[in-house]
Subunit: 308 residues, 2 copies
């Protein structure tokens, strides 16, 4: 994949190539791993190794199907330095399989500290080598600047939390001022940053996280950020359906990547896939991924990207 184009274009190219905007969330959980991958003991090193193997096995299945994966840093970090090593190996393996990788770390800080996160995570020159990182906006607009600057030189991107999928997200995000609700003010700033960094596909290197669980706000935020990629969590186990996320897509079928973690990774435990899953948990992953691709194609503009 051409690492010399901006992230907005790189993501567009990857989505077009696979013909869909499905993002597989790599959220390994000890209790849910298939029996064959359960570690012998729960020492951090053994668990980390089981997570690495599980995620790489998932990547083997989904790499030909989807454009992008999103490892959740927390699940690796929980197991200390060994977990973080496994995270690095998973990122490397995903990139080697031609997947884009967003690290879901919801990091942020100020000034040179924010820059350290950006330099550490973003792009081929960084230690973690991710293509993008999720970033939290509470610290203010100046806290986002170092990420944008580093992302630009590294052909990488960021996704800023705007409207999250959890019920309590409204507590402060939805507080209304005379200028609008907080999430709307953050969205305005994301749009400004995205518009300044658009590539050929008309989308910038700064995107927004907008939950699938609030379809009305999703439509409103799609309109408010015409140049931003939306990363949409909350599909599947959190209750969001293909119809709920339809508003996230632009008419071209670009503009949104819809994340599914548990619904794909642990499909072998879902009633629809249990029969396949007991024979072969990876086949359940493949089938759940294909089904999600089909659902999005049927219910959203993503259908226009469909390869025949």
């Amino acid at each position: 994949m051409d690492r010399l184009r901006g992230f907005g274009d790189r993501l567009a190219e990857a989505v077009r190539r696979r013909g869909n905007g499905v993002m597989v969330g790599l959220d390994p959980r000890l209790g849910l791993l298939p029996e064959a991958l359960q570690p012998d003991n729960a020492s951090p090193r053994e668990v980390a190794e089981a997570f690495r193997r599980f995620c790489c096995d998932v990547i083997d299945v989904v790499a030909p199907l989807v454009p992008i994966v999103k490892p959740q840093a927390a699940f690796f970090e929980e197991f200390g330095p060994a977990g973080m090593e496994a995270l690095a190996e998973v990122i490397k393996y995903a990139r080697h399989k031609d997947l884009l990788v967003v690290v879901d770390g919801k990091r942020n800080d100020i000034g040179s500290t924010a820059e350290a996160y950006a330099r550490g995570y973003l792009g081929a020159d960084s230690a973690w080598q991710a293509d993008a990182l999720t970033v939290s906006p509470y610290l203010g607009d100046d806290s986002l600047t170092p990420f944008v600057d580093v992302a630009r030189t590294q052909h990488a991107g960021i996704f800023v939390l705007v409207k999250t999928s959890n019920p309590g997200g409204a507590r402060w995000q939805d507080v209304r001022s005379e200028q609008g609700a907080i999430y709307q003010l953050v969205a305005e700033h994301v749009e400004a940053l995205a518009a300044k960094t658009v590539g050929d596909a008309g989308l910038g290197i700064v995107g927004a996280v907008v939950g699938a669980t609030y379809p009305t706000q999703l439509a409103e935020l799609r309109a408010a950020m015409p140049h931003a990629w939306l990363l949409v969590p909350g599909f599947g186990s959190q209750g969001g359906t293909a119809r709920d996320v339809a508003a996230a897509f632009l008419e071209t079928g670009l503009g949104a990547v819809v994340n599914n973690s548990r619904g794909i990774l642990f499909a072998y435990q879902r009633s629809e896939y249990r029969e396949i899953g007991t024979r072969d948990w990876q086949e359940a992953v493949a089938q759940a991924t294909r089904d999600m691709i089909d659902q999005l194609a049927a219910e959203t503009h993503a259908g226009r990207l469909r390869r025949n």
Copy 2:
């Protein structure tokens, strides 16, 4: 130190024992390390080892003087898994030297993901074994709950970002609604969580990060959160003085820990300490720490804690 008491009491005990509320921020920066500690090359492993050694050397100096240190996760993370290993060793060493350790990670997420961060960082049973973690509130009140629950069982604490020290912090934190500014609404919730978890010292296990650079808001927030420990960044190189942070302390001298990172770590480069520093960079660290303790004792209620 008694790990079976709540974090509010454990911090009070540590502050009383050392007679001051100085927090040393462990922010290693490659370009600023004393010459003798510069790595042979800038590979992640060499840099991480230099950071480990530098931080442990700082800990040797400050452990008898101050109650608490705050490693900044970003500076370690920048160097990948090797950096994270160094972070783990620094935390371990600080605890072994009887210091409390707050990991400054500004982490957060929702539901079981937030719980993974909490279980990973907080307390003696966790992989990172920190006594507390800084947490970002953008994701809402329910995102804080798993941290509070885990902190309670682990005798650990969290510090929630309320009002940060950077100029851009005001961008969204200061937005006013009919119920008050966002930072005031977050502060209200922190106070509620702190009040529910108070120990003998009258302070809870949930504290707030409030910058030294906004003295008026510091006073206002001290009043709004009578049961919360305040973690006050922005002293020294960011411009905050002892007088600026005076309002952060309760009359007892408890209630605030004031962080200084660069001003202590790299004191050997400051004009006041250059003469000592060229002979012995660690002696410059010691002198800068003692001077900050004296300044806080002279200008704030922290003087009441002073040991003779």
